[in-house]
């Protein structure tokens, strides 16, 4: 039990009246559990701010999975071979599954999927800025697999050791599937790069468009990242944005070479002294604009998501009504959906 110490400490006050409990003891036990690299579990005491940060981060992660289905689903009906079509369908299906894991993980913190979706639809919670870029050619599907999923994995592998147990366990499952997607994306680009001159050009163009947005996935530079320090202290985060970004660049450069493709960065070069690749400045203005909602597809992505949800309301209401009739109880879902129905009526 991860925070058995916290549990024991929390139970120490014998009179049971919550307002007499010494909050400092809870806090101390929590801090000790985190320091000892133990996992915090749903029923353990945790600071309100820790809970709020996790809800925000896990929900936005879940939202990214489901919004992230759109740019790739854009190519399902046009995939150029049946094998590629099957791979792409399986990938988009996995993303829906990742969304489900992550909403479940968020729910262990006392929130509901409906509430989180509502926050997404109303713009009160965000999703990864990368999915506000359009998929303009088939090669974009490969660039997303290789670079976007590659960046996601670089970010997410350390989350497998995150201090919050349910999130860490979701990440273990997700990272396995993501690594598979990333290899498939690489392999797709390799086929294009070694294909006809038109296919090669398509691959290069896609990499040119996705490279910088992929580097932005690691978030703002360390000196402008508002949540970083606290998240690292809580061991939600294990490395800084800039560290992870550097690690990603170092991984990608040799891969690009073996693909026979280049990155659109004249400043990219090996730095013997640092033992890392130097790279050019990121356009943070673009990053903040996309984050604010002014990217190429922000409006389109959220509109499609809302439309799918709204147009599906009658289906969810039907399922709830059927369940209520056939189990003899209204149940929580039926109740909630019933309210939605009343609002819409």
């Amino acid at each position: 039990m991860a925070t058995a110490a916290a549990q024991r400490t929390a139970r120490t006050p014998a009179d049971g009246a919550p307002d007499t409990v010494d909050m400092a003891a809870y806090q101390h036990a929590f801090d000790a559990a985190v320091a000892a690299d133990e996992r915090i579990e749903p029923r353990d005491w945790m600071p309100d701010a820790y809970r709020a940060t996790l809800v925000r981060q896990i929900a936005q992660h879940a939202h990214s999975e489901i919004i992230g289905m759109q740019p790739e689903a854009n190519w399902i009906t046009r995939a150029p071979s049946l094998r590629r079509k099957a791979i792409l369908m399986a990938k988009v299906q996995d993303e829906a599954g990742h969304g489900l894991y992550l909403y479940s993980a968020a729910e262990t913190l006392g929130t509901g999927r409906d509430e989180l979706l509502d926050k997404l639809h109303s713009g009160r919670q965000k999703y990864s800025s990368i999915f506000n870029y359009p998929t303009l050619t088939w090669a974009d599907v490969g660039a997303i697999g290789w670079l976007v999923d590659g960046a996601a994995i670089t970010n997410q592998v350390p989350l497998c050791r995150c201090s919050y147990g349910p999130y860490a366990r979701a990440m273990v499952r997700i990272c396995k599937e993501e690594s598979f997607h990333q290899r498939q994306g690489y392999e797709l680009l390799l086929a294009l790069s070694k294909g006809t001159p038109e296919q090669h050009a398509m691959a290069q163009d896609a990499v040119d468009r996705w490279w910088w947005p992929s580097l932005m996935m690691f978030g703002p530079p360390d000196d402008a990242s508002q949540h970083s320090a606290q998240s690292m202290e809580w061991k939600i985060k294990r490395h800084s944005n800039d560290e992870l970004r550097q690690r990603f660049v170092d991984i990608c450069v040799p891969q690009a070479e073996s693909l026979g493709l280049t990155f659109p960065d004249p400043d990219l070069r090996w730095n013997e002294e640092r033992g890392h690749h130097d790279f050019g400045p990121i356009d943070w203005t673009e990053f903040w604009e996309v984050l604010k909602g002014n990217g190429p597809c922000n409006e389109q992505r959220i509109t499609q998501r809302r439309r799918a949800h709204d147009e599906g309301a009658w289906v969810r209401e039907a399922a709830a009504a059927y369940a209520a009739k056939h189990t003899g109880s209204t149940g929580e879902t039926a109740h909630e959906t019933g309210e939605t129905g009343a609002e819409r009526a």
Binding site: I66, M69, R78, Q93, R113, A319
Partner: protein, 233 residues
């Protein structure tokens, strides 16, 4: 081989239609389920088309008039009820047919034996949703009733004999009707009235005569492949 094309095209075209749902489903669980069914069907299509030739050539380089799929499977998705009605009609047919082919020991027996497990899941999914929508709210009942009625005229074609498939078509048709009537009854839905085939829809998909939306679907599906002749992907 006509039979492999007929069965392969059914699976290919329905898979494509279900793939159009990705990112548009009413609930996240259905994103998973519809994609899952689409993938199963695509897997079947690849085996079947490979029995008849090169899967990609057959999928991407044939014109509309050379496709042998049922008109039912090419029907646009419509709302969720239309998609479910199409799934109910087709998966019931496919399960009955594949069970028979699996038992028959002909060239399609190995594929059918594997596919019948998938198709049993598809049928269960369609039945469960038919019950929920039919016996859910007033709105869902109406939508499901309308969808079942709208697709009814495409159901007769499923039981036109296909050359090269050794099946008891009359018996299949009868068992299909009994099964569908049973599900609709439990879903409080009426059995649609009217003919199950029309002058245009009776067995014509199998002969390469399709409905108008099909050409547009193929244009989208084939565009990229056709734009790069001879390329590999």
């Amino acid at each position: 081989m006509t039979a492999a094309l007929a069965l392969g095209d059914d699976a290919l075209v329905l898979s494509h239609r279900l793939g159009e749902w990705a990112g548009h489903a009413p609930v996240l669980e259905e994103e998973v389920a519809l994609a899952n069914i689409a993938l199963d069907l695509l897997g079947q299509a690849r085996v079947l088309l490979s029995m008849a030739g090169d899967e990609d050539e057959l999928a991407y380089l044939r014109e509309e008039r050379a496709f042998r799929n049922l008109q039912l499977v090419e029907q646009p998705n419509g709302d969720f009820a239309h998609t479910i009605a199409r799934q109910l009609y087709f998966s019931t047919y496919q399960q009955l047919l594949y069970a028979e082919l699996a038992a028959g020991g002909g060239p399609f027996a190995p594929l059918a034996a594997k596919a019948v497990k998938e198709v049993t899941y598809h049928r269960d999914h369609a039945e469960q949703w038919t019950l929920r929508l039919g016996d859910g709210t007033e709105t869902s009942h109406e939508r499901m009733r309308d969808a079942c009625a709208a697709l009814w005229k495409f159901t007769g074609e499923m039981f036109q004999p296909v050359e090269g498939l050794d099946a008891d078509w009359t018996g299949l048709d009868q068992r299909w009707q009994e099964s569908v009537e049973d599900v609709l009854g439990r879903a409080t839905l009426p059995l649609p009235e009217g003919p199950r085939t029309g002058a245009w829809s009776a067995g014509t998909g199998r002969q390469g005569l399709h409905t108008e939306s099909f050409g547009r679907m193929l244009a989208e599906m084939q565009h990229l492949h056709r734009s790069h002749p001879g390329a590999s992907w």
